[in-house]
């Protein structure tokens, strides 16, 4: 591990906390500029239709309406897509989900914009709705995906595999076998702040955009593409973001492009923000998955082979599912050794809204399946679930089923032992088993889940980031990164890293939010890559600046730079008085040194073969284990999570308070995923639009969590750091469900494990509604032709 640090890993506070507690932080909805217009979008009220006609002429005449736009106001009809070009800024010819934008209006007031929407005449001709992902690849399935010329079914988004040996043959020979189907639901990000964007036009034809986007540089490049403007004309600035968890990509980019086009048309600033209902119906979700697991082990508890087939519902557009599928594929084996393993995942188009990135990015889904299967196998063998995992889990020197030999930084065994000790597993598990044999209807359970999670992008894309740093006139330091802080704390992490390298107080550093004019493109802020990739870039820039400053210090102190010592912020040489930071900076300026630096950090190349399903998918992995304690009331079906213990190998922890917060927050989302959260589509119509119908955990649903970090050294991360944001939630749902199985003796293969599933071990039938709930935001002025 890196030598001793003074600031990194030590207690510190968030750089943006003060404005947030005072209520002065400005989010997109808090921006108001003179002459600002309000925008609103007409959204499809049908999940799959041809747009027969779209007439905006009446809307344009509504008093107060300043402009109306459709797909025709964009280059190439506004076609865009981050991984597949299958999406439009506003619908072109077809709508593929209920909630898809068709036209947008800008007006003097929100009311006038609403009247404008009502005056748009749109006629839809319904097409057959594809709502069952299992049917998507049938030869006669309604076509939702774009036309293809390569003979592949148009409803296939992507197909990924991991392949090692022939598992099916091996499983047949195994004395202990298990075959199961699992289902995970669509989950809503449910960030407290909904999406929005503000575009401000200037007389030279340029635009400044403020948007709730996860990656301002991606937003900028999409805007350039759909508006046909050069980079110099579009500046994207990040306001404070009220949570993202993977969710503020595509919809935020569409919204940005809509307000941008309206601003160009009217010459006035235009803002659009969403109601909760509109955010839910227009935005994207975590994909739903069906998974078919076959697994075999020897009588002595050695895992032998795994077959993991899965289908992933991407909904109307590919969005992040294109890569979620791959990440899910890589992680579907769990953190175990197998003699043979075959993972085969397909993501498909349907008319169920659409799905994209969400914390865990596919691993959250597959971990639920594999960790329940492993647990059930341990039960069958009569081996303690923790012993079984310890025996089979990945250790230093092991080769993963992908063919990756792990040469460093594998803290999994330590994590498992930690949660075992912290939770008092051995004694408690026994006591609960005994208790559950009594007649009490209050059952108790203890469950465990372990996992691994690839750090940063891996084979998902080019992986680099840049940072700029400079010393200002008042001796403060400005630092920028192209990666975004949407609440997870990366601005604090970069500040601490730069302070460490420069030997200054963190207060001296002003860390900017990304602005495409002043920071440098660093790819997407996804995959929990902010700490490793962005952190390395910030560290490199700070180190390079420190070298320049040390030259000046050495000059004043008449010594070599390597003889310099630091006391507080001051510099001392071998035998002279200390000189202050300010004096050194002044001296550097007199010497004519330029006190700024810009550095880029590039992740090592990884090597994955998509054809053979073998290779090195990621350069490092986060490992972890969680134990959940539950109480299940058999009379009411209520599941109470009483306690969670979590041990994570996140490499070196840079900002402990922030890492703990990520851990708690991720676990809370995992509890929601396990027990209450499910976006329900009824024949393509989303049913739960607001927090009264889509419930997320409150302070009473989450217990006090006992977390700890097992610090191994990731040689690639800054100071040995890995990641934490996503991994935190990955094992929570299976740990809870394994605890429920321990408590009740029954397994639930579908989440959320709702009341009826626990009581009846089956889902209650939902009455078919085939209707969009009548919410005020949704304007159903579109005429829908009768379905034949």
């Amino acid at each position: 591990m890196d030598k001793k640090t003074k600031i990194v890993g030590e207690p510190s506070k968030r750089v943006d906390a003060l404005e947030k507690v005072l209520g002065t932080a400005r989010y997109i909805g808090d921006y108001k500029v003179p002459g600002m217009l309000y925008a609103r979008v007409l959204r499809s009220s049908h999940p799959h239709s041809k747009i027969v006609s779209l007439d905006i002429s009446k809307a344009e005449k509504v008093p107060g309406v300043r402009a109306v736009i459709t797909c025709q106001d964009f280059v190439n009809n506004g076609c865009f897509g981050r991984f597949m070009n299958d999406q439009f800024i506003l619908a072109y010819k077809k709508v593929r989900y209920a909630g898809e934008g068709i036209a947008a209006v800008a007006a003097d007031t929100p009311e006038a914009a609403y009247q404008g929407i009502l005056a748009i005449e749109c006629i839809l001709e319904p097409l057959p709705i594809l709502s069952d992902m299992e049917r998507a690849l049938d030869p006669d399935a309604p076509q939702v995906g774009p036309d293809r010329v390569d003979g592949v079914h148009p409803n296939l988004v992507v197909h990924n595999i991991v392949h090692k040996g022939e598992p099916l043959e091996l499983i047949q020979d195994c004395p202990v076998q298990l075959e199961r189907k699992y289902h995970t639901p669509h989950q809503d990000h449910a960030y407290l702040e909904t999406e929005g964007a503000l575009a401000i036009p200037f007389s030279d034809g340029s635009l400044t955009i403020y948007s709730t986007d996860q990656s301002p540089f991606i937003n900028q490049s999409i805007l350039m593409q759909v508006l046909g403007l050069p980079q110099t004309k579009i500046r994207v600035i990040q306001p404070v973001i009220g949570g993202s968890f993977g969710g503020k990509n595509d919809l935020s980019y569409q919204t940005s492009a809509q307000v941008a086009a309206l601003a160009l048309k009217t010459g006035q600033p235009v803002r659009m923000t969403f109601s909760r209902e509109e955010s839910t119906i227009a935005g994207y979700m975590r994909d739903a998955m069906n998974m078919y697991v076959r697994i075999g082990a020897d009588q002595d508890g050695t895992l032998r082979a795994l077959s993991f087939l899965g289908i992933l519902d991407s909904g109307a557009y590919a969005s992040g599912s294109y890569l979620t599928t791959w990440r899910a594929c890589i992680h579907a084996t769990g953190a175990y050794r197998f003699d043979a393993a075959h993972v085969d995942l397909k993501s498909v188009y349907t008319n169920n809204g659409y799905s994209g990135a969400f914390r865990g990015y596919g691993n959250t889904e597959v971990c639920f399946a594999i960790e329940q299967a492993i647990d059930e196998l341990a039960d069958r063998l009569g081996i303690d679930p923790i012993e079984f995992r310890l025996k089979n889990c990945l250790k230093l020197g092991d080769t993963t089923p992908h063919g990756h030999t792990l040469k460093e930084s594998v803290g999994l065994t330590e994590c498992i032992e930690k949660v075992r000790a912290l939770s008092d597993w051995d004694a408690k598990r026994k006591a609960f088993s005994k208790h559950n044999q009594t007649s009490s209807s209050l059952r108790k359970g203890l469950g465990v889940a372990i996992f691994f999670h690839g750090v940063s992008l891996g084979a998902e894309g080019v992986d680099n980031a840049s940072s700029t740093i400079q010393v200002n006139g008042d001796y403060t330091i400005s630092l920028s990164s192209g990666l975004t802080d949407y609440g997870q704390g990366s601005r604090t992490v970069y500040t601490l890293i730069a302070a460490e390298e420069l030997g200054v107080n963190p207060d001296r550093i002003i860390m900017y939010r990304p602005d495409t004019d002043t920071s440098i493109s660093s790819g997407p802020t996804v995959a929990s890559r902010a700490t490793v990739v962005g952190g390395n870039a910030a560290r490199l820039a700070a180190q390079n600046l420190a070298k320049i400053i040390n030259l000046a210090a050495a000059d004043i102190l008449h010594c070599r730079p390597d003889q310099l010592q630091r006391v507080g912020e001051s510099f001392i040489g071998p035998d002279e008085e200390p000189v202050s930071w300010e004096m050194v900076i002044q001296h550097a300026r007199q010497m004519g040194l330029i006190l700024s630096n810009q550095s880029k950090w590039e992740a090592p190349q990884i090597d994955w073969n998509f054809e053979t399903g073998q290779g090195i998918p990621y350069y490092a992995y986060h490992y972890g284990a969680q134990v959940a304690e539950v109480e299940v009331d058999l009379d009411t079906g209520k599941i109470l999570v009483k306690d969670i213990w979590a041990a994570h190998d996140a490499g070196r922890v840079i900002f402990p308070q922030g890492a703990a917060g990520q851990l708690y927050g991720g676990i809370a989302q995992g509890i929601g995923y396990a027990l209450m959260e499910e976006v329900i589509y009824d024949d393509g119509y989303l049913q739960n639009l607001n927090f009264n119908e889509y419930t997320i955990p409150t302070a009473c649903d989450v217990p006090d969590i006992h977390g700890c970090f097992v610090e191994t050294d990731n040689p690639i991360g800054p100071y040995g750091a890995k990641n934490i944001a996503e991994p935190a939630m990955v094992p929570t749902a299976p740990a809870v469900l394994n605890a429920v199985a321990h408590a009740t003796g029954q397994r639930i293969y579908e989440i959320p494990a709702s009341l009826e599933k626990v009581l009846l071990m089956r889902d209650l039938q939902r009455p078919a509604q085939h209707n969009l709930p009548n919410h005020k935001f949704l304007v159903t002025r579109q005429k829908i032709l009768k379905v034949q």
Binding site: V21, L192, G243, R276, T698
Partner: protein
């Protein structure tokens, strides 16, 4: 219509359409944007304010209902020096903030609890905050911050009693 009320300790009068909510009046007519909008149906607590000292969801209160009454928003929660008060400082110190969108509502809900209850247990704190959703923090550090504030306010008030 015109309504007059006390806002963050100051007499205020404002002319508004009569069918708007307190939340809209605060954000759009008085430019107090610290009060957030998360759901508009009374489920998330992002819009929490104190009305005559009681916690309410301002999205469920019609603006004219506050006539003659007293409203406290996040902008009215300050220490003596105009900076953060002890509770806000504890939110900072305990890492009770991530994206910060729920924070103003959480602070007001916590103030409402602490004004009514001097020694809340952790589960009472959780209960009191259960009308305020936070998607980022998992609540733990928020509970820590409120617990720490309760302790220090108790010490202070006991100290005052002893001195008196």
């Amino acid at each position: 219509m015109n309504i007059a009320f006390k806002l963050n300790g100051k007499k205020t009068s404002v002319t508004i359409p009569e069918d708007i909510t307190l939340l809209t009046m605060l954000r759009e007519h008085l430019n107090l944007t610290g009060t957030k909008q998360g759901c508009e149906i009374g489920e998330c607590g992002a819009c929490s304010v104190l009305l005559d000292g009681k916690l309410v969801n301002s999205c469920l209160v019609l603006a004219p209902q506050v006539e003659g009454r007293e409203v406290v928003t996040i902008e009215g929660i300050r220490g003596l020096d105009g900076g953060p008060n002890d509770l806000q400082q504890n939110f900072i110190d305990h890492g009770a903030i991530q994206c910060g969108y729920c924070t103003p509502g959480m602070i007001l809900a916590s103030e409402a609890l602490l004004s009514a209850h001097l020694k809340p247990s952790r589960s009472e704190i959780r209960e009191a905050l259960s009308g305020n959703l936070c998607r980022c923090t998992g609540y733990q550090q928020i509970v820590d911050a409120v617990e720490a504030t309760a302790k220090s306010r108790n010490l202070q008030s006991e100290g005052q009693k002893n001195n008196g």
